[in-house]
Symmetry: C2
Subunit: 278 residues, 2 copies
């Protein structure tokens, strides 16, 4: 019997021809007003990998979120634009019925075959060890019921980044955490896509809790991750016009910057009762 | 007689139906190995604006560059994915003959109708006045012949950022400059898209001159620019695997952060004679 990790089980795609794949979206990856965007990007990444087997990893993946994905059937469609030697580019969409959920484009390649040069001037975060950080699994049952996504990850917020949970956000606009899959699935390119959008919105740390819908997210996968814990930082520098950018960096256990991602998100509106449309 | 600025003249699109527009690409915007990506994004932004008139500005625009655009006919194709009240999303491509040049997605809206809130913690660059900076128009004639793009802009590099031009790059991976159109066309959303990719690659400042092809560029337009000079910074923090990210910020004359853009680009390879394929 082969053990299958949770993420892989939920990313099982059924090809239906012409670049199309069917996927059943479940409530497991739900957060805020729909299925988590990072999980959707991982699903789109999997469809890309199946359609472009010689270019198995999205080096740069841009996704525009146009409506909230819900439980049920979804269709992923990959349309190659150009397949070259070292890279291939393709459009990829995720839809449910007649509704488009995500429109994406990816430039794919093979992260295992890149040159070895590394000249990173960015510095990894300085975090207390995971056991001294605050697990999101300690969230109240009510929160976890509304956001089953929480139970998919072992996510430990740095104490400085967790003030919002007790009504004392730092106001700096920065969150830092350790993260791994709850079932300790080793990180890979697909889980990195998911993890680029798994921390709470950085707006929490600005004292603006609530759902901050992602409008667009572009992720650069810069290296395959080493096994073990990942460190994730999210920050913003420009809240304006009802939106904010959120920069996400993911560092692996070998101290390598493996993801640089940026999203544009809407600032939360005043809280609305669960289930009400916004 | 109405004075038409250079950029607008070169962005004149001819609609051919079904979301398609024809554009004649000229050598005027050529740099490195093809037509400048920022200019192509401006052209795609113009096609988006024509097809989505109630959502005239790309709030977030992701473009993947899949082959170099050359002089001659190009076709822009806009395919709306969802048109809502405050935003609309569309795929947009630029092709020449059977060759796709750029595959993009944009989430568009109206920058003039956003809420007034601004809470920017980012700080604008500190630059000497334009007259104390180094104009790229002083480049050798040979350079300007290979890169006619230079003559489209009045671009003044901060002296600290111009060391590469005399063989003394700073090594910091940062460029700063003043920029406006050469004919003093007032900045708008379209010119901001162009300007998000108009400085030399930041790799120059790392002592790696040469063409650094953009693989992907995502631009967030955060506000309509005030008239006058713009300040542009470009920086990188992660050169690895033969690629680097390049962050671009554009600030307007009122001190507003109007663009946040990030691209993934290939590090230059050793110089090849002009005209030779790479």
């Amino acid at each position: 019997m082969v053990a299958v990790h949770e993420l892989d089980r939920h990313l099982a795609l059924s090809p239906t021809g012409a670049g199309r794949h069917r996927l059943e979206l479940t409530r497991d990856w739900w957060v805020g007003g729909g299925v988590n965007g990072g999980f959707l990007m991982a699903a789109m990444g999997r469809a890309l990998g199946l359609e472009l087997p010689k270019h198995p990893h999205p080096l740069a993946f841009s996704a525009h979120f146009v409506s909230a994905a819900t439980e049920g059937d979804a269709t992923l469609t990959v349309t190659p634009a150009r397949v070259g030697g070292s890279t291939a580019a393709a459009a990829v969409t995720l839809s449910q019925g007649d509704e488009t959920r995500v429109v994406g484009v990816a430039t794919c390649g093979d992260l295992a075959r890149l040159p070895e040069d590394v000249r990173t001037t960015a510095v990894p975060p300085v975090l207390p060890p995971p056991e001294e950080c605050i697990p999101t699994s300690s969230s109240p049952a009510e929160v976890r019921r509304l956001a089953p996504l929480i139970d998919r990850y072992d996510l430990r917020m740095a104490p400085e980044s967790a003030g919002w949970a007790v009504g004392a956000p730092s106001g700096r606009g920065e969150l830092q955490a350790w993260v791994r899959m709850a079932d300790d699935r080793p990180p890979d390119a697909l889980s990195l896509l998911a993890i680029a959008d798994v921390l709470p919105p950085v707006s929490y740390d600005l004292g603006e809790p609530g759902w901050a819908p992602t409008m667009q997210l572009a992720a650069h996968l810069r290296a395959l991750p080493a096994p073990g814990w990942l460190q994730v930082t999210q920050s913003t520098r420009n809240v304006a016009g009802g939106m904010f950018e959120q920069d996400c960096e993911v560092w692996d256990s070998a101290g390598r910057l493996v993801v640089q991602a940026r999203q544009l998100a809407r600032m939360p509106r005043p809280a609305v009762p669960s289930g009400e449309s916004r």
